[in-house]
Amino acid sequence: MKIKAAILGTGNIGTDLLLKTLKTDFIEIVAFVGRRLDSDGMIIAKSKGVNISDQGINYFINNPKCCDVVYDCTSASDAQEHAKIFKKQGIKVIDLTPAKVGDMCVPDINSEIILTDSNVNMITCGGQASMPMLYLLSKHCKGLEYIEIVSQIASKSAGMATRINVDNYINTTRKAITKFTGCNNTKVILNLNPAEPCVDMQTTIFVKTKDIDFKNLTEKLLDKIEELKTYIPYYELVLPPTMNENGIVVLSIRVKGTGDYLPEYAGNLDIINCAAIKVTEKLKESL
């Protein structure tokens, strides 16, 4: 039995997610819903034979119980409004905006919350990229004092919603760091880089800690990356954990996309969608 799902929001994220879900054998997209029928995403969805609608949230009001789960790929403020409606309808929400309605979810750490919660939040691209590494790293640290993550994404991979939500991106990612590592002193930076050819998504993690157990740390991180690659195919450690002259531990990861909708450099779109699908897979196991 397939999970019946709908995608709300037909921008970069929604369209890439559509193409990814169509490749799975456990998700059936019952509707691809937005506001403009002439958008690129709508045209692609139509060409794939997917049921489309330009009625936005009204589609769900008019078609209650049309699906088991909806992927909200709109904006943080819209997603907050949508959440109330979906809750009433008993449709689970996998939220790909930084709206922070539901509990934050990193499939590698706590995917089981999808079984009990009505709304789970996929944090942010920088959050999905860094959290598995940070979670493991934090277990090797005593007295974590400060965590900083810096993500660089290609300008062309950031749509208008991402840009308007830039503060939400920062605040949500900071909250996730605190939730998954216990460290309250955090800094998150996002750089949009217009260089051509487009840069790949890259996230650098800086950690200040009283004490760190370096023994087998790189090996453990590499093992973890092999696991992650089962759902994020091009996840790569480009700078292994290194202690710099000021006692700061630095590591860098690069995430390339699979090029489903936007080109491969858009690893930021890819990773959050990969995570959303991985969480859906957990839901499927419960059926």
């Binding site: 300008s155 930076i189 949009l192 260089a195």
Partner: protein, 332 residues
């Protein structure tokens, strides 16, 4: 006589040249001078602005609150300004800055990314504070593209658009084309922020004024990133002799230009050969030190490294690629 509004960026851009360590005492002393000399806007903070203290760019020993509070206390007539880059700072940081008494917010993005400023400019415009839009690294795009980006910031509510020559690349003719077009195609004030990589900071600032710029940035002794900015003590007489009015006391300024050597500026910025090359190749001035490091490490000439980096059109934030390019050059 046309009035030019000068923004003094010494206490912000100057922070780049001392790794963001300008002391609270220095801020206090310089603000006291600036206030007495009648400088209209004094910009204060970390080199990259609000909430920019970080391991990536450089930790500041002083918080935004400490720096801005000291400045505010000592600026009775001058307005207090901040630089703020969405993606690095958030509106929450701007709210705090409002509480600390900041009057002028200069919301900055890379020259192609004006849309990133939407929520910040719109929020600040509603507070009633003065909000300017700033396009950094502006020599990377054409005058027409710059106009498009400026109009985006104007549509969000920016009261002025300031173009920064962060790479120090412009010649006077480039500034002339851009300022004229910005004046013609937008309905807000236009400003210019020079860097001196090609020795044109003063000439470019003068041309900007002659082409109708309303706002010009300057720093005492050119105290700023890389080759430095337009020196305030030099810009004032040049503007006055050209028929512009700044309202700033020149005598006090020229005296302070000596005094700052005792408390603010360890070394007056000069245009080094590397600065010339990065200016020509439109590379971020902040690449200077990573370039030196990489050229030593791999035994390649920094000039060939710089030209190769220029060919690749690297922008700020791609410091990690400098080592990679140096390594490839070595193996050629």
């Amino acid at each position: 006589m046309k009035k030019i509004i000068i923004t003094d960026s010494s206490l912000r851009d100057g922070n780049h040249s001392v790794k963001h360590t300008i002391s609270l005492d220095s801020i206090e002393k310089y603000c006291q001078f600036a206030d007495k000399a009648g400088i209209p806007i004094v910009e204060v903070g970390h080199g990259n602005g609000l909430a920019a203290s970080s391991l990536l760019i450089g930790k500041s020993p002083n918080t935004d609150k400490e720096m801005l509070t000291v400045a505010r206390k000592n600026l009775k007539n001058s307005k207090l300004g901040v630089h703020t880059i969405p993606g690095l700072s958030t509106i929450d940081d701007a709210k705090l800055a409002v509480d600390y008494g900041v009057d002028v917010f200069r919301v900055a993005t890379h020259c192609t990314e004006a849309t990133l400023s939407k929520s910040h400019i719109e929020y600040l415009a509603k507070t009633g504070k003065t909000v300017y839009g700033v396009l950094m690294m502006s020599a990377l795009i054409s005058a027409d593209e710059l106009v498009e980006q400026a109009k985006i910031m104007e549509s969000y509510g920016a009261e002025a658009i300031i173009i920064m020559d962060s790479t120090g690349t412009y010649l006077p003719k480039d500034v002339e084309e851009r300022i004229r077009k910005l004046k013609a195609y937008t309905n807000i004030k236009v400003g210019f922020h020079a860097h001196n990589n090609l020795g044109c900071a003063i000439a470019n600032s003068l041309v900007a004024a002659e082409c109708g710029a309303d706002l010009i940035d300057a720093c005492i002794r050119g105290f700023g990133a890389g080759a430095g900015n337009a020196p305030l003590e030099l810009l004032l007489p040049v503007l006055e002799k050209s028929g512009f009015k700044t309202g700033i006391d020149f005598k006090k300024t020229i005296k302070e230009a000596d005094k700052v050597m005792d408390y603010l500026i360890p070394e007056v910025p000069i245009t080094t050969p590397i600065n010339v090359l990065t200016g020509l190749t439109r590379l971020f001035s902040g690449f200077e030190k990573p370039i030196i490091k990489a050229s030593k490490l791999y035994g390649v000439e920094y000039s060939s490294l710089i030209f190769e980096l220029g060919n690749r059109k690297l922008v700020a934030g791609q410091e990690d690629l400098i080592l990679e390019v140096a390594q490839k050059l070595k193996n050629k």
